[in-house]
Each structure stands twice: as C-alpha cells, then as structure tokens.
Symmetry: C2
Subunit: 428 residues, 2 copies
C-alpha cells in the first residue's frame, strides 16, 4: 500500500470519499461497542465460577493455622493466601501482606500514608513544598489520577521497547530529592504491553535516590497474564534484585487477582522488604482489624496453588488471544504501509497501544464515537490527561466478543484513516 503522505491531493480526496461512504454505512447500523476499559468478559468470568462452590455451610472455615476465618484478626492475611500471592508475584511468603479486593486501593493508601506520615521516618510529604513522581508514558490513567489527587507533580518519562527511558529516570531519581516515586507496570505494560528488559530492571535496582523516601511503585498487574503458551515475556524479580544491589527498601510491589478470579471480588496484596512492611503494619493496624479472610480462603481452596492459578490463566488466554488477534489482524491488513499509525504486538496484558499521527488521537476517538464505538479517552494514558502529541490511543479488546471486535476494529481503522487523511490534506 502507498503511504497516504505520498498520495496526491486528488487521490486523497477520492480515498476519503470512499472511506466516508463506508463509515456512514457502519454508522447507520446504530452500533454500541466498547473498547474503553480493561474489563474481563463474561466468558472469562465464567471460568472461575467454581470458586462460588468451594466454601459452603459444611466447609471447614479455619485456615491452616487453625484460625476461624469468619472472625476478626490476622492482619497480614491467612498464611495459605500469603503463599499463593507470594508465588504469584515471586517473593517469599513473609514479604507479602494480603489486603482487600483492590490493589489500586493499596497504592492509593500508600501514597496517602506518605502524605501524612512520610515513609519509614521521613518527613510527611504534605509538609514539603514539592513532591514529584516520574510517570512512564503512555501509562495507566488511574495511577496518574492518584498522584494528581494528592497534588504531586508528575513528570513524563518516555517508554522505549525496553521500558522507561532509564537515562532520564536515573537523572531525576539520583539528583532530585523531590522525586519520591515512579509508577511502573513492568510486565505487559498498560497500555503498550511492553515488559521491562533485564537491563532496565537492573538499572532500577542500582538507582541511588537523592530522596531517602523514594520508592518504585511496581504494579505487577499482569504478572501471569500471558496471551501465549510459547511466547512469554520474563521479568526479573525486582525485590531480590534491589536486595542484591543494597537497596532492599526501594520497592513497593503490588498485585491482585482482579483479572484472575473476579474484578471487585478478588484479593490484592503488597510485597516489600521487612522494614517497609513493618512500617506499613503500624498504619494498617490503626486502619482496620483485618481484611476479608473468607475470600482469601475461597481463593486458596479454589486455585489450590500457583500451578492451579497458572492453569486457570491458560484458559483465560484462550479467550483473550483471539480477541487481540482479531484487532491486530485488522490493524495489520488495513493500516500497514499507510504510515498513519504504529502499534505493538503484546504477548500479554489487556491492551494494544496505537500511536496515530501527531494531533490526531482526540479526533480519531471522537470519530469512532460517532459510529457507536467507545474508546478510552485520548490523552488518558498521560498525566493530567494531556498527551503532548495528541497521538496515543489505548485499545482494550477484552470485553467485546470477537464478532463485535471485528466491527469495532473496522470502525477504528476507518476513523484513523479519515482523520489522518484530513490532517494530510490540510497540510498539502
């Protein structure tokens, strides 16, 4: 295919006419399609329905230490749940605390605590004139929303195929004591599906932060969320790597079963060094008497162990993979060679990231909406909702059916083409 930029004005106008005709046809179908959020489909949730049966009124509801899971207590979570989530996130079971249903909530609370109480004895951030977080971009909108809510200044760090630009990260972290954190989705990143390279993880572990209370917020949301059995990314375990480099306290690691069992009814956890966890517990024992141990028990009784969980994730992959491929195939066949956008082929996670021509993302999302396709708002993958190039669009293929995705992708590529054509025509 010829790149749009190399077409004549006349050719572009002709192409545009055809595309708009097709678009109007689709629009006339009054479709309602949603590729906006990383939400599992009903079929995926059905896979975990056995979890609703493992506890019943005849079950033994004691955990392995004999504690009645129906009653108060056990702040760190029941030991078998600690083991399961520790295996899931590849840390020792004594370095993890099990929380409620939401890892986002743990991250929010971690920042909130730092605001009011600092980190392991440091000055509370609310007493400082300036607090900064590094934000690899494109990234996860809900991370950025937390730091924005607390008035923390966010600094964009461009993502490369190996993870965040580590020259910039080192420059900021090692020199500016106002830099207190960095948001990372290190495996199958949101939205690009990039896994940080070994070298990137090692450079993280070797940081020499100017701030004693700098922490890496390592949101390992997609640690076991592979799309393929054969092609899988590997991520070096960051806690151990930091320990080796003499930086044992530099990481807070987060995970949850939201996209393993049920979103909203899963189990979330934080892993960190013993010193960090000690500090965290001082806060947590004031905040709550304990989290939902019956739900922890339900998860362990259902998955049994990490092998059971991995086997479960393969079934999820069988549902998700065709969806990713449906979208990617349309992008490949319809956009390759036109030079009006680029995208990656993730091996896991929940998203496909699309980079349109600069200045086109908002218009593309708006155009798609005209035909009944809801996308993540353009800009959402950047702090403050501001994509400086107005280029990045997050595609979330998990929720619709493959049939819906076929039409949705068609609407999407038509929108990309039409908006890009207009842009190119303008400049001709």
């Amino acid at each position: 295919m010829t790149a749009y930029k190399d077409l004549s004005k006349e050719e572009l106008r002709k192409e545009k006419e055809q595309l708009e005709k097709k678009f109007e046809e689709l629009k006339a179908q009054n479709l309602h399609l949603d590729m906006s959020r990383g939400k599992p489909s009903a079929a995926q949730l059905d896979l975990a329905m056995g979890m609703m049966d493992v506890l019943n009124s005849t079950s033994n509801l004691k955990c392995e230490t004999g504690v009645d899971c129906r009653n108060y207590g056990v702040l760190d979570g029941i030991p078998e749940a600690q083991q399961l989530l520790a295996d899931m996130t590849e840390v020792p079971a004594n370095q993890i605390i099990i929380y409620g249903n939401s890892s986002l909530n743990i991250m929010f609370d971690t920042v909130a605590r730092s605001m009011t109480h600092g980190v392991m004895g440091s000055t509370p951030w609310c007493k400082l004139d300036e607090v900064k977080f590094l934000c690899p971009v494109p990234g996860y909108d809900r991370h950025f929303a937390i730091t924005e809510y607390f008035g923390i200044q966010m600094i964009n760090i461009p993502m490369t195929l190996d993870g965040p630009d580590m020259d910039m990260v080192e420059q900021y972290v090692n020199n500016d004591p106002a830099v207190k954190g960095i948001w990372c989705v290190p495996k199958y990143s949101n939205p690009q599906g990039i896994t940080y390279s070994d070298e990137t993880v090692r450079r993280f572990a070797r940081l020499k932060p100017a701030a004693e209370d700098f922490r890496i917020y390592w949101d390992n949301a997609y640690g076991i969320h592979h799309l393929y059995d054969d092609k899988q990314d590997h991520l070096i375990e960051i806690l151990m790597e930091c320990k080796k480099e003499g930086n044992p306290d530099m990481v807070f690691k987060f995970c949850s079963t939201s996209k393993v069992s049920f979103p909203g009814s899963g189990v979330a956890a934080m892993a960190a060094s013993p010193a960090n966890l000690k500090f965290v517990r001082e806060h947590m024992r004031i905040q709550t008497i304990g989290h939902d141990k019956l739900n922890q028990l339900r998860h362990v009784r259902y998955f049994k162990d990490i092998h059971g969980m991995v086997a479960h994730m393969k079934k999820q992959a069988d549902i998700l993979r065709p969806k990713f491929e449906a979208v990617l195939n349309v992008l490949d066949s319809e956009l390759t060679g036109l030079e009006i956008g680029s995208w990656l082929r993730p091996r896991g996670g929940y998203f496909i990231s699309f980079d349109a021509l600069p200045g086109c993302a908002k218009a593309i999302v708006a155009k798609a909406k005209e035909a009944g396709l809801v996308m993540t708002e353009a800009g959402a993958t950047y702090p403050y909702g501001k994509d400086p190039n107005d280029s990045n669009i997050r595609i979330a293929p998990s929720y619709p059916t493959p049939e819906e995705l076929a039409i949705a992708s068609e609407i999407f590529v038509l929108s990309v083409k039409i908006v890009s054509l207009n842009k190119i025509l303008e400049s001709k």
Copy 2:
C-alpha cells in the same frame, strides 16, 4: 454486705487472707480465659452459616439493575445492598455508600481524607497548626487510635447516663474552630452500653460549630444489637434530626454487618448528606474501582431485607443475653454493697463497663491476668490509653462460653476485691 471501707483493719486482713486463698486455687487451675475484645463466639457465627450457601456456581450473579456483580464497577454499592444497610441505619437508600468489610477503615479513611483534602472545600487539616477531636469517655480504643495516629489532639468529654456531657460539647464545638469532630457510639455505647437520650441527640443536631468542617462521627456500631426483645433502647436518627435543624451536613454515620454476619467478611457503609457523599465520591473514585459486590449480593440474598436481619439478631441475642447475665449476676451477688465498684446493665451492644475505686483498674487487670484471665488493658477506654482515675475496666463477655464466663467472672471479682482491699488497707 458491709462496705469494705467500713471494715476494721483486722477484718480487712482476714477477708484478704480468705480471698487470696481462693485466688490461688483458681490460679492453680492454669486457666486461659479472654474477656478482652468484642469478638463474637463461634456459636454466634454458626447462625449465619447459611450465608455460605446463597451464592453458588448456578446462581444469577446480577444485581437488580442487571449489573454483573463479578465484574468491575458500581462505586456506591449495588442498590439492594444500599437499601438493606440504609434500613439498618434508618436513612434513605440514596444517602448511603457501601464500602468493603470494615467501618473502622471508612472512619480511618474519612479522617485521612480530611487531613490531606479537608472537608467539602475546607483547609486540609495537615495545613493547620491545631486539630482537636472530642472524645466521650470511656469510649472505643480504636477510635482514639485513629485520631492519635494523625496527631489530632483529643479532649475527654465525660459520659453521663444520657450520653456525652452536652454542656461541654456545646462549649467546645460552638466556640473553638480547631474542634473538627467528635467520636460517638450513640447506641449501646462502647463500653458502657449507654444510648444517647432524645435530648442529647437534639442538642447534637442544634450545635452551631465554630468550624465549617466540624463533623459528628456517629459510629452506630450496635444499632440493631439488642439483648432483649422487650427492653430495647431507641435512638433518634441523627441525619434527619440535623436536617430539621438546618445542619444537614454535620454528620458522618457509620455502620457495618461485622457483628451481624461475619466480622472481617461483612459489609460496611457510610451514610451522610448528599453534599457530603458527593465530596466523598470524588475521593473514592480515585481510591478504588469498586468494592466487593459479590459479598454485598451474598448479604442481601441471605438476609433478604431488614426484617430478616432483625430476626437474625434475635437469635444472636439468645446467645449473648445469658453471657451478659452470667457476668452481671456475679457482679451483683459478689460486689453489691462493698462500695468498691459500680457498673451498668446494658440492654444491647457488646460490653459491660466497670468502674473500680480510683487507682485500682490497672492493678485489677494485672491481678486477673495472674490467674489466666485476659481483660482489655486498663486505660484503653481513654485517649492515649490514659484513664485519669485509673478506674475504668471494659468487660467483653461475647467470646467465652457461659461456663467459662462463670469462672472468668469469679476471677474478676476476686481481683477487684483483693486490689480494693489492699488500697483501703494502705490508707487506713
């Protein structure tokens, strides 16, 4: 019985000898008894075991608006759970938000949010030189722990049989803009079992706070936790009362099913005015994508409605009542007339409050511990753990069996007698 203070030194010494002999006999039994926390017994939890069966893999897991409770979303909680907890706490269903498993966690987060973001536009408390909370005493140690954790200055307000000393409350709230809150357990209070009188609630509603961000923290933990079918306290609903008095935004009301279904696996909620809830949601939508809707559904399917819940609580009362009476009977028969302590007869809640001779509480709790009886630490019912009179002891009769309570009460009264005798002898 003759009051100890009226006995001669000789009589006191003789009495002491006999008591210590009895005490040593009990001590020799190597008992392990616990009256320290308001923890339901296994028998009480067994009453709710049917809840483990209402959801299974064949259940319809959609809430009444058709939302799949297994997936993300629905920040305020599912409507049927809002209705159930609204009825439980006697407010309209649109004035309640359903949270996770812990009302303590909601209260903590409410104070934390006020520290970093103020209340409905007020200055964040972390920017103020001085923040004060009023603390009716004796009160709930975990309330005081929250305010202490955030460095909030706590002011003791003595409890009367009608609730907090309202002259003092009005004096502080209406004149000191640093007073931002008051901790209340208005029904079957912890630890005294006192229900605030109609006049007390009305005086609360008529407060004219010097601080715009003053709120009443109304922890209605024992709203439906009656011990008797015939003798029940009634508490005026505070939100409506405040609305009538032109103070609609002055209250945060908290409740949970921790002591209705399962502690740690219940459902908690906050009720407040629409304006307060709007402000709260701005925070909450950053903190989480939503709480555990399956557990909300489980509660509604099990209890069905408030009538089902009230019927359930009657069964709990049948288990709790004999326990309270076992303890109260021993206090009555063993201590009446000795003038070494006083106590109330609660009609609900989880505690009996005992006031020893000034300067004796710590020694009594220590003495009881010698014989294997763990009580709530003396002082715990006061801010900073400091009971100025060293007099109040909280008795929690819910967890042990009635048989264990008979022995535990015996150890307790022996400890009271011995410590009081020593005190009186010292001063003779």
